[in-house]
């Protein structure tokens, strides 16, 4: 039997928080470009919503319920015993998009709708692998709701845009048919149908231990029927969602070895990368120009730290960044770190 987990997610320090927000901002910007309306949903989802979505049929083993205690005066050892737990009305959200269907339930949409939301998600995984498989993680989803053809065409177009973004962010991978952990044998047919119809594709990292960074899920009118959402013609709406696992994006960027000492790093390399990340500022940068004089503030510096770390695969501290007065200083710091890593390997 697997030992119980004592942590639900990796703790984020200041640098990780900045990386996380940087990645989410890139995704959020993409969603806005695609015409999405931003929404924010709670972490708890009503049990009846999950039941309507038939989540308990497909993934009963992943559900986490939130329940009050029956007798709050019970002594500590018994307080949280199963016998003292009440009927769960709430569950912890296993995904973001169920909230969106509940939000639109019973509505007839005047036009196709695109929503985006980021949320904490919870699944009862039986093991913990920091950054890869966590009990608690964050996803940003882009959800499409509308007529069948519109959803089909846009899901494909959005998938291509998402791929471009991931490549730009140095997250290489390719799309593969997904094999979700459906509860067997009850949901075996659903798993096989997902595979046959390719209703779920995952963008997986290359290598022997691939990690799904994003997915595109096409639901046909499954949720439209269950939540009575109709398109402008009065037909049950079709839905699709694009989901990105932000913890996995951060983890993968930290793991990727994009740069080795065989690739010479010069101040010009950093300058060109900087120009891509901070186009509004970098056009006037010179290698020997103080960064702060060029209008790069402390927030930009953390973005720059993240970019340099992920692009050249070195671990830099905020002190390194504070000491780097110019792009030339920064390039020298990166080179020194890379050489140190080579020596200590």
């Amino acid at each position: 039997m697997t030992a119980p987990l004592n942590t639900s997610a990796r703790t984020r320090d200041a640098v990780a928080i900045r990386k996380f927000e940087f990645l989410d901002q890139a995704l959020f910007n993409l969603a806005l470009e695609l015409g999405a309306q931003p929404l924010q949903f709670p972490s708890l989802v009503c049990r009846s919503v999950l039941e309507k979505a038939e989540y308990p049929k497909a993934f009963p083993h992943l559900i986490l319920a939130a329940t009050p205690v029956k007798d709050p005066s019970a002594p500590t050892p018994q307080l949280l015993n199963a016998s003292n737990l009440g009927e769960p009305h709430w569950c912890l959200s296993p995904a973001v998009c169920y909230h969106a269907y509940a939000h639109l339930a019973g509505q007839k949409l005047d036009s196709p709708t695109i929503l985006t939301a980021r949320g904490r998600c919870f699944r009862h995984e039986d093991y913990f692998d920091p950054g890869r498989r966590q009990l608690e993680f964050e996803m940003r989803e882009i959800i499409l709701i509308g007529p069948a053809d519109w959803v089909s065409q846009n899901a494909t177009a959005f998938k291509d845009k998402l791929t471009e973004l991931m490549i730009h962010l140095n997250l290489p991978g390719d799309w593969q048919g997904a094999q979700d952990p459906f509860f067997m044998p009850v949901a075996k047919g659903q798993a096989l149908m997902q595979q046959i119809k390719e209703t779920k594709l995952e963008y997986c990292t290359p290598g022997p231990n691939p990690l799904a960074l994003a997915s595109v899920n096409r639901h046909a009118d499954f949720f439209g029927r269950r939540f009575d959402i109709r398109d402008d013609q009065g037909q049950f709406a079709h839905t699709a969602c694009l989901a990105a696992g932000l913890d996995r994006w951060c983890h993968t960027l930290a793991q990727e070895r994009q740069f080795t000492s065989s690739q010479p790093l010069t101040p010009d390399d950093i300058l060109s990368q900087l120009a891509a990340v901070l186009p509004g500022i970098a056009h006037s940068l010179q290698c020997d120009q103080p960064l702060r004089d060029a209008g790069i503030d402390s927030i930009d510096l953390v973005d720059l730290l993240f970019m340099v770390e992920s692009q050249f695969n070195v671990r830099l501290t905020e002190t390194d960044m504070a000491r780097a007065r110019t792009i030339g200083d920064l390039a020298q710091t990166v080179l020194t770190r890379l050489q140190h890593e080579q020596v200590t390997k």
Binding site: G177, Q179, K188, G189, Q190, L192, M193, Q195, I196, K197, E198
Partner: protein, 97 residues
Amino acid sequence: MPDNQAQFQDALLAFINHQLPQIHKPKKSPTPPGLEANPDTLLFETGLIDSLGIVHLICFVEEATGRPIPTRMVVMKHFKTPAAITQTFWNHEGENQ
């Protein structure tokens, strides 16, 4: 157990058209209603096979060929039509046993 590819396909069509509806009726009626499969019928687009139907169908093919079907083989190109199933899982006449 069928002896050759033609017999396998006939048995497969009989299973889809007659035996399967007695074991399991899809929630949504096939389109058009009353549709009977022929070798080139699109099994999933027409709704003849749904998520429970595919499990029964795989069991039938495994029993008829005497060989298990690996999960990785359960993809659209192999299950799109009865002809595709026949071609994939009974592709060597007389050598299937």
